[in-house]
């Protein structure tokens, strides 16, 4: 959008000069004249006036703008001046003038060349529904070509008309329709604040619009909660899926599972550090590099744990639990010693930062990516269990260890690989979680109880159970949160799971058959 050049250069200078008269009504005239001039200097002048950076020399009638960094320009011409004249004094304001200044600033930004600024200005007019902006809005609306900006202007205009006491009933009804179509929290606030002395038709329209906005908002807040729930569910699934393998397939309680997640997160940190110092251009690919590395690191540690500790404890799950808890303490302390106890900075690559709007809700890219990533991992794992030789052997060992051994499957090798696989997946989870959580030695601790809940709730030995369990818990948690608060919601979930386990001690999707009575 281009401005029409100031019709008369002289009139702008005359208007500016009025600031020097030190008279409130002259200043008022000057404000409206400058704001209406469309001169590029208008915005700096008026904002300087608001912040008392506009000074005038009463003798020469020259007006100066002091920039925020002390640079002084002549307000009429924009030419730089060395320093303020001795007798220049700030232009004084009273409350009435301050309102005029604010309105002028709003209308000036409404005419800005940047569409985003115009929308922001329109939104601020919508909130303030300042009557004085109506003329500018009408003007701007006529000239506007950008669709989004046009809609924002129309909404701002509707807001003003609604609050304008002498607007006709037809105008008001139209305005209500526009505000109703906007349908968000602000529209609700606008209608709620409306004075009650409306014509009956308008009042009825407003009531029905409010009801419709209310249900619209409720719907969107459901969608919002569902999205948050999906997002939380994906995080839970990510943390629990490795556990579903080690606990579900092998019956091994690995309390150090959270620490495998932590190792994955720290692998990401190391990868990013190397990239930052050596190959800064690769930063966007850092996560792609970290995923296989984290799998290898955590998987290797997992195999070591299985060979070094867990294989001596098969058939003694309670002892396994204690030994792996001890291991988790050792791993945490080792990481604390190596990397320090504080949070380490892991950055988001550009394709994972930012957000987009979907209707009334905001979806951040990192959450969306993590959801997709989790589902991808889940599908890959499912396919692996279904179609590969290792998957077949793993299922055989799960169903009947002795029979599998009799059929020539090296069960101890399968055990080691299964444990490595579960740990490796936990490592990958760490890469993803490093994007949304603090990378600290305690990272794993915060997930371990939740992941156990997911696995136990979903049913041991069944990946689908884990999927359903994770998303159920995630969504239930987020729907309880607005009602009960975050902490109470979480407590309620824990209590519900404890009660649920009483009903179905083997989880939602229990393995059937003799394998159960292990």
């Amino acid at each position: 959008m281009t401005f029409t050049a100031p019709a008369l250069a002289g009139s702008f200078e005359d208007a500016v000069a009025k600031f020097a008269n030190d008279d409130f009504s002259d200043t008022d005239e000057a404000i409206s004249a400058v704001a209406a001039s469309g001169n590029p200097l208008a915005f700096p002048i008026i904002s300087a006036l608001k912040e008392e950076r506009l000074s005038a020399d009463p003798d020469t009638k020259k007006v100066f703008v002091t920039g925020t960094y002390g640079k002084v320009i002549d307000a009429a011409t924009g030419a730089a001046v060395d320093k303020l004249p001795e007798n220049a004094a700030p232009v004084r304001l009273n409350n009435r003038l301050r309102r005029a200044v604010d309105a002028a600033l709003g209308s000036l930004t409404l005419l800005s060349t940047d569409p985003a600024k115009r929308i922001a200005a329109a939104q601020s007019v919508f909130k303030s529904h300042e009557e004085s902006a109506l003329a500018v809005i009408d003007d701007a609306l006529a000239k506007e070509t950008n669709k989004a900006v046009k809609a924002a202007f129309a909404e701002a205009r509707a807001a003003i008309l609604l609050y304008k006491s002498d607007a006709t009933e037809v105008e008001k009804l139209e305005a209500v329709a526009i505000v109703k179509a906007k349908g968000d929290q602000e529209a609700m606030a606008l209608l709620t604040g409306l004075p009650s002395d409306q014509p009956p038709n308008v009042a009825r329209a407003v009531t029905s619009a409010m009801a419709s906005i209310q249900s619209n908002l409720a719907m969107w807040s459901m969608v919002q909660n569902a999205w948050y729930g999906l997002s939380l569910g994906s995080v839970l699934l990510l943390a629990a899926i490795g556990l579903a393998i080690t606990f579900g397939v092998m019956g091994v309680i690995n309390m150090a599972h959270g620490e495998m997640v932590m190792l994955g997160a720290y692998t990401t940190f190391v990868v990013q550090e190397v990239i930052r110092t050596r190959y800064p251009g690769l930063f966007d690919y850092s996560l792609l590099i970290a995923v296989p590395l984290a799998f290898l690191v955590a998987g290797a540690v997992g195999v070591l744990i299985e060979r070094g500790i867990i294989r001596f404890l098969y058939g003694r799950p309670l002892e396994t639990l204690l030994a792996t808890w001890g291991l988790s303490l050792v791993l945490q302390q080792a990481v604390r010693t190596a990397f320090g106890p504080t949070n380490r900075e892991v950055g988001n690559p550009s394709w994972m930062s930012g957000a987009f709007e979907l209707g009334q809700i905001t979806i951040t890219y990192n959450r969306l990516w993590i959801l997709c990533f989790t589902l991808a991992i889940f599908v890959i794992l499912l396919a692996m269990l279904r179609y590969t030789a290792l998957g077949l052997e793993m299922r055989a060992v799960t169903q009947n260890r002795r029979m599998a051994a009799s059929m020539g499957i090296a069960t101890s090798r399968v055990d080691a690989l299964t444990f490595g696989l579960g740990s490796g997946i936990a490592g990958i989870a760490g890469v993803a979680l490093s994007q949304i959580d603090n990378v600290s030695p305690n990272l794993g601790q915060s997930y371990i109880i939740d992941s156990f809940m997911v696995v136990v709730f979903g049913g041991v030995g069944n990946l689908w159970g884990t999927l359903v369990g994770a998303f159920t818990l995630g969504i239930a948690n987020k729907f309880l949160e607005p009602v009960a608060g975050a902490v109470l919601g979480k407590i309620a979930i824990l209590v519900l799971i404890i009660l649920f386990i009483q009903k179905r001690p083997r989880g939602l999707f229990a393995l059937k058959g003799r394998a159960v009575e292990a």
Partner: protein
């Protein structure tokens, strides 16, 4: 082992244990009060409080050993019962502060004044009376354990599932007690205690009396546990530990036995917590953290699961080591050591210190050809699985 040898050996070690605890319970306070400060044999007051803490931990360890060692229930939430008993006592101590608090409110504890609470919440009523608080020390943990066990044992939640949900229970309580609006002081918990039954909690005499009482409680808990495990009931508990389904098929109501012993154990843990709080001077939600409960389990494992003396010994040994290492230059390595302890004890010393010692002692007797009883014990007793549970 034959019942005869079992009873005899337990009798001897039990007597030694009771004598040692009673001796410490009397001698340490006497030395603190009667000997002049600076004397070689005088136990400084801070050590009395420290050892009082160990004794409370020993009671907690006994309560865990009773259910884990003798009934195969691994609770990872026993710290919750300990903390609940502690909170019950802490509430009494808070009410005793009266108008000596920072805000000088005669009824409301400081944190409630700070939160602008108009009056005492209903669940604080009665805690100004010692008998009521002392009753609650048993009732609150016992009731929670009863309800929890009622649901869990009747639906046959066993093994690791039970361990995980007990952990979830203490975690849920941890989250709850961290909240200010729960009415238990939130993050800071209850502290700044002044009096207990009219005596200053900081005074040497009070500390010595508390130490003596803790030792007495330890002996009492020990005797109760002994009575339980050496009774017929105890035999059924062992049977449940070793073959739960078979015991059920024999006609025993497994869940009732479990529920009884679980509730009893929770009450004992509550008493331990109640004695712990006045000696340490604070109770806060971190006592509920799952890590604490698991640490208490390892005390039992170190000392010897299924031996009552071992549980108490393990609690003292591990906590003494903790104090020793975390206060010295080795502090950063304490978690390594604790972690290694978990791993090494489960891998190399599954019977714990006392269990291993007992095995060694029996073996030695046989090697010396010392009597027919020992060799009989060998024939019957060496056969059992090294790890009966699960």
């Amino acid at each position: 082992m034959t019942p005869h040898v079992l009873t005899r050996s337990l009798d001897r070690s039990a007597t030694i244990f009771i004598l040692i605890v009673a001796g410490l319970g009397i001698l340490i306070p006497l030395s603190n009060l009667l000997l002049p400060a600076g004397s070689m044999f005088q136990v400084p007051t801070y050590l009395v409080a420290l050892w009082g803490k160990y004794v409370c931990y020993a009671i907690l360890a006994l309560s865990i050993d009773l259910i884990w060692g003798y009934c195969g229930i691994l609770s990872l939430g026993h710290g919750a019962f300990f903390a609940l008993g502690g909170y019950a006592m802490g509430m009494y101590l808070m009410r005793q502060i009266g108008s000596r608090g920072v805000y000088g409110n005669p009824v409301l504890p400081d944190f409630m004044v700070f939160l602008n609470w108009p009056e005492l919440p209903w669940y604080w009523y009665g805690f100004d009376m010692f008998w009521f608080a002392a009753l609650m020390v048993f009732v609150v943990p016992g009731l929670l354990a009863f309800l929890f066990g009622w649901f869990a044992f009747r639906s046959r939640v066993t093994g690791v599932y039970l361990s995980i949900i007990t952990q979830a229970m203490t975690y849920a309580l941890l989250l709850g007690f961290f909240r200010n609006d729960f009415g238990f002081g939130g993050n800071n918990g209850l502290t700044d205690f002044k009096d207990i039954l009219g005596f200053n909690v900081q005074a040497e005499g009070t500390r010595c009396a508390l130490f003596f009482l803790s030792c007495a409680a330890l002996i009492g808990a020990f005797l109760i546990c002994r009575a339980v495990v050496s009774s017929k009931l105890g035999k059924v508990l062992l049977a449940i530990r070793d073959a739960e389904s078979r015991t059920r098929f024999l006609g025993y109501r497994v869940e009732s036995y479990k529920l009884f012993v679980f509730t009893l154990s929770a009450c004992m843990a509550g008493v331990a917590g109640a004695l712990y709080v006045p000696q340490v001077g604070i109770i806060n939600p971190s006592e509920f953290s799952p890590g604490n409960s698991i640490e208490a389990v390892i005390w039992v494992a170190v000392g010897g699961r299924g031996t009552l003396v071992g549980a108490a010994l393990g609690a003292v040994v591990v906590n003494y080591a903790k104090t020793f290492f975390t206060s010295g230059p080795l502090a950063p390595y304490w978690l390594f050591m604790l972690g290694a302890l978990f791993i090494l004890v489960t891998l190399l010393l599954p019977k714990g210190i006392i269990g291993t010692f007992n095995t060694w002692w029996d073996q030695r007797k046989i090697e010396l050809g010392n009597g027919a009883a020992a060799s009989a014990a060998r024939e019957d007793g060496a056969a059992p699985k090294p790890n009966p549970a699960e």
